[in-house]
C-alpha cells in the first residue's frame, strides 16, 4: 500500500516587486514581473507502508523545504503530494512547548497541537511518562529540564501514537546514547508495524541501518535515488565536487560493482589484496597478515598526495580506515605519468564475513577539498575463521581468560 506519493513536485519562492503587488495578486490581479527562485525541481517518489526513505544532501539542497511540503506547512508550486493516513513529523523537537509548563502539561499541549483529544492524551499519558523516563521532573516546569530531558519528553509525545508516515529531520542526533538507541528501537518497531518513514540525516550509518532506499538532493533536484549504500557513495563523491555526475546512474544502484569519483589527476591502476607470499587473495583467515597494494598513476606533478583506504562490512558500515596523512607519511615530488605503489600491511583482525575496501587519493586529511579518486568497492574479500576459537562480531580481539576463585 502506498502511503506517500510525491509526483513531479516543484517549489519556487516568488519575489514580488513590492508587498502590495503580492496582496494584489491574491485578488487575481496580474502584477509586474517578479523574480522566482526555484528551490525544488521535479521531485518524484513513492513510499509504501513499512518502507523507509533516507533523504541526503548538503545544506541548502532543499531537504527541509521538501519535508515542510510533505508535512503540509508549505504548499508545492506545481506537482502534488498525496498522503494516505496520519503524518507525524519531528522537524524540531519540543516545538511549541512552553518552558513554564510542566512536562505533563506540555505533553497535553503538544499532543493537542497534533490534533488529539484530551481523553486520548490522558489515556496515553502513563505510557508517555514511562517512555520519557524523566522521573519526578515530569511534573516540574520544562525550563528546569536539561536539554536531553526535553528531547526525551518531546520524542515520547511525537511518537506516542503510531502514524502512517513518520517524518524525522535529524532529530535523533540528540539525547544520550541510551535514549538514542531506545528511540531508534521505537522507530524500527513502528516501521515493522507498517509506518512509512521519511528520514533526513547526514549520518551514513543511520541511513544504512534504517532505510530501504535513499534519495540524494542537490540544488533542489534529485541527483540519485535507489539503494542507500549506492546513494551514500554518490553523496560521498559529491562532497569534494558538487557537480559530480556518475557516468551511468545505474552504476550507482549496483552495489556489487566498483564505484568511482574524483578528478583523476591521480588514479588507481590496480588494487590488490596480497597474502604473506604476495599472492592475490579474496579469502583471508582471521588474524592473517595481509597487504593492500595500491598502484597509482600520477597524471600531474602536484606535490602532495594522501593515500587512504577503508574497510567496510557487507552493510557498508565502516570498520576501519586510515590514510597516509594521518600516519604523517609524505608522498610528493611526482613526475607526470609516473606509476608507483603504496602498500598497507596489516593483520586482518576481523570477524568472519564479507568485507569491501574503498580507497582514496586526495589532498590533506580528508577528501572534501580536492579528491583525485575515490573508489568504493575497489575489492571485496571474505574472512574465514579456520583455526581461531569460535567468536562473534566484526573484529577479533583475542582475550586471555583468567578465573580467580
Amino acid at each position: 500500500m502506498t502511503i506517500l506519493r510525491v509526483s513531479e513536485l516543484s517549489k519556487s519562492y516568488i519575489r514580488y516587486g513590492g508587498e502590495f503587488q503580492r496582496i494584489l495578486s491574491w485578488f487575481g490581479m496580474q502584477t509586474a514581473p517578479s523574480s522566482r527562485t526555484e528551490v525544488l525541481r521535479d521531485i518524484s517518489f513513492e513510499l509504501a507502508a513499512g518502507e523507509a526513505l533516507g533523504i541526503v544532501g548538503i545544506n541548502g539542497a532543499g531537504k527541509s523545504t521538501l519535508l515542510k511540503i510533505i508535512t503540509g506547512t508549505l504548499q508545492p508550486s506545481t506537482g502534488s503530494v498525496s498522503v494516505s493516513g496520519r503524518i507525524a513529523a519531528i522537524l524540531e523537537l519540543a516545538m511549541g512547548f512552553n518552558p513554564d509548563l510542566t512536562g505533563e502539561e506540555n505533553v497535553i499541549h503538544g499532543a493537542g497541537l497534533m490534533g488529539f483529544s484530551k481523553a486520548e492524551i490522558l489515556a496515553k499519558m502513563p505510557e508517555i511518562e514511562a517512555f520519557a523516563e524523566v522521573g519526578d521532573y515530569f511534573r516540574k516546569p520544562f525550563r528546569i529540564y536539561s536539554s536531553g530531558m526535553q528531547v526525551r519528553v518531546a520524542f515520547a509525545v511525537a511518537t506516542a501514537w503510531r502514524p502512517d508516515l513518520l517524518v524525522i529531520d535529524e532529530a535523533l542526533s540528540v539525547g544520550d546514547t541510551y535514549f538514542q538507541q531506545k528511540s531508534f528501537k521505537r522507530i524500527e518497531a513502528m516501521k515493522s508495524a507498517g509506518t512509512a518513514l521519511l528520514f533526513v540525516s547526514h549520518d551514513r550509518s543511520a541511513i544504512l541501518k534504517l532505510c530501504d532506499k535513499a534519495l540524494l538532493l542537490s540544488e533542489g533536484s534529485t541527483k540519485a535515488q535507489g539503494v542507500p549504500e549506492a546513494v551514500m557513495n554518490i553523496y560521498n563523491a559529491m562532497l569534494p565536487d558538487l557537480t559530480f555526475v556518475p557516468e551511468r546512474l545505474e552504476d550507482s544502484a549496483d552495489t556489487t560493482r566498483p564505484f568511482k569519483s574524483g578528478n583523476q589527476q591521480f588514479q588507481f591502476t590496480n588494487v590488490r589484496l596480497l597474502d604473506e607470499n604476495r599472492a592475490p587473495v579474496n579469502t583471508v583467515e582471521v588474524g592473517e597478515l595481509v597487504t593492500l597494494e595500491l598502484v597509482i598513476q600520477a597524471n600531474t606533478s602536484k606535490d602532495s598526495l594522501t593515500v587512504g583506504y577503508e574497510i567496510k562490512d557487507r552493510l557498508g558500515y565502516s570498520i576501519f580506515g586510515t590514510n597516509s596523512f594521518d600516519h604523517r607519511i609524505k608522498i610528493s615530488e611526482f613526475v607526470e605519468g609516473e606509476t608507483f605503489t603504496v602498500q598497507f600491511s596489516f593483520s586482518a583482525n576481523l570477524g568472519p564475513g564479507s568485507y569491501s575496501i574503498s580507497c582514496a587519493l586526495h589532498t590533506g586529511a580528508t577528501h572534501v577539498d580536492t579528491c583525485f579518486e575515490w573508489r568504493d568497492l575497489a575489492l571485496t574479500f571474505d574472512v574465514l575463521n579456520i583455526n581461531k576459537k569460535s567468536f562473534i562480531g566484526a573484529c577479533w580481539i583475542e582475550p586471555e581468560i583468567t578465573v580467580i576463585r
Binding site: 508587498e19 491574491w26 504548499q75
Partner: protein, 264 residues
Amino acid sequence: MPLALKALWNYRHFILTAILSEFRLKFSRSLLGGLWGVLNPLAQVAIFALILSNVLQARIGNVENQYSFALYLSVGLCCWNLFNDIVSRSLTLFIANGQLIKKAAFPKIVLLANLMGACILDNLLLLGAVFGLFFAVGFYPGVTLVALPAVLLLTALLAASLGLILGTLNTFVRDIGQVTPIVLQVLFWFTPIVYPASIIPPALRDLMWLNPVYPLVTAYQNLLLYGIWPNIGDLSTTALLTVCLLLTGGFLYSKAAEEMAEVL
C-alpha cells in the same frame, strides 16, 4: 469556512487548555498572582474616574448615582478594552507564532481562537472588577444584563474578524502594525466612552455610525446602566459587518496562507 469550524471543533480541547494555561502562566511567578488581572483594569477605571469625574465634575445623564460617571466610563471601557485587546494582539498573531507556523502542521485558525479566548478571559476579569465597583457604590444593573454575553461575543467576533485581516496583512506589510495603534487611539476618542454621546453635535452624530464600535459601546451602556435592551437593528448591522469582515479575512488568509510560511 465549514472546514475552519470543523478544525475548531476538533481542536476544542487544545484551545481550552491553551487559553487556561496561558492565563495561569501570565501570573505564575508574581506574588499577587491572579489579583493582577483585576488590579490592572481597576487602576485604569480609577484613573479615568478620578481625573474626569472629580476634576471635570462630569455628570452623566439619567443614572441616579453620584458615581455615575465612573460607572459610565467603566462600562464603556469594558467594551472598548475587549475590542482593542483583540485587534492589537491579532496584529502580531502570525508573526509571534512564526516558528510554529513554519514547523508544525495544524489549522492556524486555532491560533486566532486561542487569542480571542485569552482576551475574553481577561475581559471577564475586568467585568468582574466593574461589577465589584457597581456593588460598592450601590448600583445594581437590571434584567437587561442577560443580553451582555451576546453583545460581548459580537464585540469579540468583530474585533477578531478585523484582527484576522490586519494580522494577515501585517505579516507581509509591517507598517500595518505601526499604523493600527494610532488608528485605534483616534477611534477611542471618537467613541463616546469618556464623554456622553449627547454632547456630540447633532450634525456629527450621524457620522458616528461609521464607527463600528459605537453601536456596541452604546449597547453596553444601555443594558448595563440604563436597563434598556440593545437596539436589535443597530446590532444586526454590526453583525452583518462582522460577517463581511470575517469572510474578507478568511479569503485573505486562505490566499496568504501559502506564502505566510515562506516570509516568516
